[in-house]
């Protein structure tokens, strides 16, 4: 990015200046909102994470303690590090499941069938319900596990050839399969609206050339909605991590109001949690980042060549000028 900025050090023209002004105008209200209600609180919470905060009758008492909160969490807390690792693995496993499931459902719902609206409704609604207190009741009723899926058998199979902590999170994912799928409503919607935007004539052309539906899926559908797959994967990570039924959120919340830990400790936890989340998103993005197609590659190559040529020309000119100078000097001295 910084490289780009360096190359772009050209003075803006009138039109560009106007455009830039409008850009700021459009983004300003949003930016103020984010600044006041997100950025400033975030910075504050980072400060708090480096301090020990006590509520006293005379107000807040803040003492700076450096990295103590962080080291205390890693060395002394018995729950948080374990939970963080299992959260990391579980999320990495459940993201592909949700995204693929959502894509399949969206493809099916995009077909021409009767009662499509009703189907769509049913697939979306669990998201709303799951986000409320109803979820607890449902888990209590045992509706979130598939009884026929024998989790025990999977567990013992996994335990044989995987280390224990990985096997545990895999079996956890299997155990919560139903819940995981219930979270996929929004992703289905996003995929549906992306699928709707694909031009039908593309498929028609492919059909004329004798392409099967299978080929159409891999050659047309998938490349077109690639960016949406990334969007969905990122959204899935965020939605599952920031959900209130996530156990880590509960830990943070409890620590916030616990007498012996306090707000600074909870802030440090939250910061480490978001670092873990960022890592996951980084991994997802690495896997899914849109690779350029052949045409883009060629264009890039041509551009690169041109830059190289320009540089060569410049160098030749510079050398020529220098040589000119030398020759002149030599002539003058003679």
């Amino acid at each position: 990015m910084s490289k780009k900025a360096k190359v772009k050090k050209v003075k803006l023209g009138k039109l560009e200046k106007r455009e830039a002004r409008y850009g700021y105008l459009f983004i300003l209200p949003w930016f103020i909102g984010v600044l006041v209600f997100l950025l400033i609180p975030l910075v504050q919470s980072f400060q708090f994470s480096l301090a020990d905060i006590r509520m006293t009758p005379f107000g807040r008492l803040i003492t700076f303690v450096g990295h103590e909160n962080y080291t205390q969490i890693w060395l002394e807390d018995k729950d948080f590090p374990v939970m963080l690792v299992s959260y990391f693995l579980e999320t990495l496993l459940s993201v592909p499941i949700i995204v693929v499931f959502a894509l399949i459902i969206a493809m099916l719902l995009n077909g021409r069938i009767k009662f499509k609206g009703a189907f769509r409704l049913i697939f979306f609604l669990p998201v709303i319900i799951v986000s409320g207190p109803v979820m607890l009741m449902l888990t209590g009723q045992g509706a979130t596990t598939i009884n026929t899926m024998n989790v025990q058998a999977i567990n013992s199979a996994l335990n044989q050839f995987l280390p224990q902590y990985i096997a545990k999170s895999i079996s956890e994912v299997f155990g919560n399969m139903v819940t995981i799928l219930w979270y996929s409503g929004v992703q289905i919607l996003i995929f549906l609206s992306a699928l709707q935007k694909i031009d039908a004539s593309l498929y028609e052309a492919a059909k004329m050339d004798g392409g099967s539906e299978w080929e159409c899926f891999w050659k047309i559908t998938l490349p077109t909605i690639k960016s949406m797959i990334l969007l969905n994967a990122v959204y899935t990570v965020i939605a599952t991590s920031n959900n209130e039924s996530n156990p880590i959120i509960n830990i943070i919340q409890n620590a916030m109001f616990a007498g012996n830990k306090g707000y600074g400790y909870a802030s440090a936890m939250a910061w480490m949690y978001s670092v873990a989340e960022t890592l996951i998103i980084g991994i997802v993005a690495l896997v899914l980042v849109t690779k350029r197609d052949a045409y883009d590659k060629q264009v890039k190559k041509v551009k690169k060549d041109r830059v190289k040529q320009n540089r060569a020309i410049k160098r030749a000119r510079r050398r020529g000028r220098r040589n000119d100078g030398k020759i002149k000097k030599a002539l003058n001295s003679k």
């Binding site: 455009e19 009741m137 965020i238």
Partner: protein, 289 residues
Amino acid sequence: MAYKGNRINPRKFEKGQLKIVLAILPLVLFMGLPIIFIFSHAFKPMEELFAYPPKFFVSNPTLDNFSKLFKASRMAGIPMSRYVFNSILVTGIVVIGSIILSTAAGFALSKLKFKGKFVLMEINQGALMFVAVAVMIPRYLTINFLGITNTYLAHILPWLATPVALFLIKQFIDQVPDSLIEAAYIDGAGDFKVYTKIILPMIKPAIATAAILIFQQVWVDLGTSNYYVNDEGIKTLAFYMNTLANANNTVAGQGMAAAASLIMFLPNLIMFILLQKSIMNTMAHSGIK
């Protein structure tokens, strides 16, 4: 692609649909579970709510839970309609406001050129990752500093700039072809006109999705009522339902909680049914591709 026209449902049942329906039906049953549950749970009489082993379906439906809920609300000092009004007001303003903010910001980030654009994008990406719990107390300090505790603004302002909505909308605006916008510029349209006449109509499905998302988040949110507002008269319906169900968290509370969750759920249902039409069939308006 034999079917032409822009209605969502084909008018007749065709043989070709059969395989899709067969694939979908079992999944529908499975995804429908929570919906069935929430309805049947609300109508369960007392003995069935506590039956062991728990029952999934109701066998003797009653309206008992609802009448108890309304009785309890009548005894409270503030009528329930007040909470309903608060919730509708807050949610309405937040949905409309944050859609306007995030489409405008998304348009600027995606299509306009200005300095600092990349930094802003990174900021949004970073803000996405952060859990709401962590900024709760600093946010309270900010709200306190602004002097808007105990007002409607305390409900509304923290929700207005939603990073998730911006992220979603920006991805969709990226897909609007530049040539369309350039054509509009050549015809003499300003940026504002491009925004209202081209961007907004073309990303209708994204707007609908974001609206549903924000609505659902704000509608069930307890945080603002819990932390930023003391005055009972301006707390939201979600908070009220929660206290009703929790205050007498004994045997009677369970039935009321079940009824309350059904009542909280219905607006979501209506909202979705209203908006889902605009998620589909936008190709008809989009002009070129």
